[in-house]
Symmetry: C2
Subunit: 218 residues, 2 copies
């Protein structure tokens, strides 16, 4: 068994998405001691912004017609895809930034999609930790302003076919942004709930047979 983990927070210390992903990972390793965790940190070590344009144009050319830069990009894209394709389970830790997707996660997804082997991901277990500084639920002033979660699920579920579970945490700026001081207690309750869910989802990564396995049994 192996786990691929991707972190998109640009912070190391104080990152709530990393903290929750740590819990998912720890729970998963309790059940699978000694197995491999492959990490890709696109928040602290972002992919180059020129990688995707080079990789996607390379993917439309015969190998012999590619420039050196396109060849290098295609090789890097394939190595990034290998990390995911070689894993049994996937863990994504993704903050909301400026009401939208992490720029670095969009880049990583764009690069991944240049690889033609991704259909192999269908049915694999995945957990996405989705963290937002404010609150975006029904009835809040920012309802509809989370433009990240819909796209993240579109790619992970509808495009790649992952068997995805999510743990979502909001209001992580309560206690940081004074305008949210009235929500500190609510935010702490949310954090406790998300922590429990993260523990449960670490077990999900191993407890449920994947769709691939179900198909193999059929």
């Amino acid at each position: 068994m192996s786990l691929f983990r991707l972190d998109a927070s640009i912070r190391d210390e104080g990152s709530h998405s990393r903290a929750l992903a740590d819990i998912v990972q720890a729970t998963w390793r309790e059940e699978n001691p000694g197995v491999e965790v492959v990490r890709r940190d696109i928040g602290l070590h972002p992919l180059a912004s020129t990688l995707w344009p080079l990789a996607v144009t390379a993917s439309r050319l015969p190998e012999g017609d590619r420039s050196d830069a396109q060849r290098d990009a295609a090789r890097e894209a394939a190595a990034l895809a290998d990390e995911v394709l070689n894993a049994d389970s996937l863990l994504f830790a993704l903050p909301l930034y400026n009401f939208g997707v992490s720029e670095h996660f969009k880049t990583w997804v764009d690069v991944m999609i240049t690889d033609k082997r991704l259909s192999a991901l269908k049915g694999r277990h995945a957990v996405a930790v989705l963290v937002r500084g404010g609150a975006y639920g029904a009835g809040t002033p920012r309802e509809g302003w989370d433009h990240s979660t819909g796209w993240v699920k579109r790619i992970l579920v509808d495009v790649w076919g992952l068997d995805l579970q999510t743990v979502e945490l909001e209001f992580t700026l309560a206690g940081v942004n004074p305008a949210l001081d009235q929500f500190i207690e609510m935010a702490e309750e949310m954090r406790v709930t998300a922590t429990r869910e993260a523990e449960e989802l670490g077990r999900h990564l191993v407890a449920v047979p994947s769709l691939t396995e179900v198909n193999d049994l059929a």
Copy 2:
């Protein structure tokens, strides 16, 4: 009068968003001969993927506490914001990529938002050219799969307060992707309509007094 134009297509030749933005720009210049157009091409010359993390952390520190890299990033962010703040009208040419926002446009917006002067943009005229390879309207199989337009308008209109008009073009992959061959005629009609709208919107950039001007008169 001056125009700021941003292009996010990773293609030069064959880019539909560039072609439509060219029409908006040409119409605008007919009405304002000899005036300045400042261009920022984030598709062909993407901003570095480390720029935003450095600029946003810099923006939260006193100048004396910033690293050299943070100081450079804050300076670059301010220069990018200057380009926009110094323009009377704004033109954005934005493709949909992988059902989401252009990674390079998200980066540019993230960087812009580190600058505290953006409230000055309120009421300025802007045109966004929004181009999609497939069709995402009501009743189509991909209804709801355009996860870019909502976020783009959220930032340009709700966050920055621009007086935004859009010209939207779909099905630009008809004639390229054989699966869309049945839609070639419809796509051509869409292109003719979008071309006419682009001409009209070039006039919009100059014809309507901006909110700022209205306020100045009040």
